[in-house]
Symmetry: C2
Subunit: 327 residues, 2 copies
């Protein structure tokens, strides 16, 4: 976690909007001595900030490091609730696991866990998720909606819409949603979403949304056995993406659609979701825990459940599955 | 946690079935010196064990302390899975919270968390559960059934049957089940069960069953505002109950019925449950999160959901509620 003083210094620069701030101004705003300010400025340089120092004018930030630490995320964050409490670490086993543990403490709704690297990142069905350092968004979000447990899977769809829109706006590349929890660019996976539920019989205690996004992975960062099915945003868009900006945009979108969902129900989200969905109307193979279902993907219900019409005309409700589009 | 050597000594006594064991025999079985054995015997005395020492014969245990520590629970435990991994502490905030955290680690199915005291024990809807020291069973059990999430509430009913039977056998007093999660003796509450779920969309990761039982609470241990609605097993049966034996019996019953449930489904459990149920056929008031429903409790479905017939004949399905029997 970043020191509170350095956080204050970065906030002061953020408020200054690119202007020079003198050592004395920074000392006033942080409540420490000018010598202490100078030491913290040196620490920020070590963390990857490029700071210009001009005599009689002071300091200004020229470039922030490509990190997703608390200070990078808080500067410019436009949400009121999501991401206002950030648990950032360089390296974790799994952000999802840490979020589950935090959910047992009294952390506020909207708390996020984010790391530069996961050593045991996990996806649906405890599958591994490859999460190399400084290249992706490896994040878990704690929500506490006052809803019954069967609503939880809808959060995968709400999150998918938020992430697809954020990718479109920040990277200017189209991401499509493959039900239930994958985002694709040009047919290859860039994002997985894992929604987990902690609940009593009739009441959600927490929904923990894990979001893994391949942002700036290079070809060599993608394991060989995945190279035909996985890609990264930068590989497809041809540019390096600011992960912090992407996270900020995702949080803003998710907060917005979470509010829409709570106020107006799932229907408006469903319409948005359908506009990004890739598998609807297609012949698919759906592999669930128990069976394999062949048929046409008709759409999703108001609960977010996939409807598949089998060859004999029977309509099946699918809660979660691996979907393969038949070509 | 008890020292591994003392655990071995207690296991040796358990195997010896009341016979004397010499210091040398204990040294052989534990792999330490006779001096070390002697020191551990003194420690056991401090923990409340009464040990008889007879020259040339050795030691034997006359009485074990009324604790629910690992060694007390393991000696005589007849289960193969439940309670084979025990996290015991003198005092915890909440066994349920610790179990949630352990569930995120790779602890084996059947792991239990048990404590002599909870400082922030909790029941359904984050209500407080009063859990004074050495007087009750404050325990959480981690199961990992391969089932869809909507099955989780059934574990409250399976557990209720196990606890009701165990109380009947150990304390020789009849406990009745009040749907969904309370056990009563003579109309007053002695047990609460809190089943919590950790899940993905279509798959349970863990079911965490919290069981709180007022075992040996005296009148003065029960808060004034609860004295008309709560009691303890010993207050109703007139005898002090071995908490360790009660826990062992609960674990044995629960393991048995869990297996029945997995092998044969909920129906046989439902029949058992109905034989202990107090509210069926009665006019009740059911207060759910959202509303208050008046009607006759008809029974439970094969999913464990309560069916209530309202005055206009409409039948309502209730997932969880506070039930009051109309008199």
């Amino acid at each position: 976690m970043q020191s509170p003083i350095r956080k204050k210094i970065l906030e002061a620069f953020a408020k200054g909007e690119g202007k020079f701030l003198s050592g004395q101004e920074l000392a006033n705003q942080t409540g420490c001595s000018r010598t202490a300010v100078w030491k913290h400025i040196e620490e920020l340089r070590k963390e990857g900030y490029q700071l210009e120092a001009v005599r009689k004018k002071g300091y200004r930030i020229i470039q922030t490091p490509d990190k997703v630490s608390e200070s990078e995320l808080l500067i410019g964050l436009e949400t009121s609730m999501l991401g206002r409490n950030i648990h950032y670490q360089q390296s974790v086993d799994s952000t999802q696991k840490i979020a589950h543990i935090l959910a047992q403490e009294a952390v506020p709704e909207g708390t996020i866990v984010i790391a530069e690297e996961q050593t045991s990142g996990r996806g649906r069905m405890t599958r591994k998720w490859h999460s190399p350092k400084y290249t992706g968004v490896w994040m878990s979000i704690i929500l506490r909606p006052d809803l019954p447990p069967h609503k939880a899977p809808q959060f995968t769809l709400i999150s998918a819409v938020a992430v697809a829109q954020a990718i479109g706006e920040i990277a200017e590349v189209d991401a499509e949603i493959k039900w239930p929890n994958d985002l694709l660019i040009k047919g290859k996976k860039v994002t997985g979403i894992l929604t987990e539920l902690v609940a009593e019989a009739d009441k959600i205690n927490s929904v923990i949304i894990g979001i893994g996004i391949n942002v700036n992975l290079k070809k060599e960062d993608i394991p060989n056995d995945l190279e035909n099915i996985a890609t990264s945003i930068s590989l497809e868009s041809g540019q390096t993406i600011s992960r912090a900006m992407l996270v900020q945009r995702i949080l803003l979108k998710l907060e917005k659609y979470y509010k829409v969902y709570i106020d107006e129900g799932f229907y408006p989200i469903k319409l948005l979701w359908e506009s990004y969905a890739v598998s609807l109307g297609q012949d698919i193979i759906a592999r669930t825990i128990n069976e394999t279902i062949y048929g046409k993907a008709l759409g999703i219900t108001d609960e977010g459940i996939l409807l598949v019409k089998e060859e004999d005309g029977k309509i099946r409700e699918i809660y979660s599955a691996d979907i393969q589009i038949q070509s």
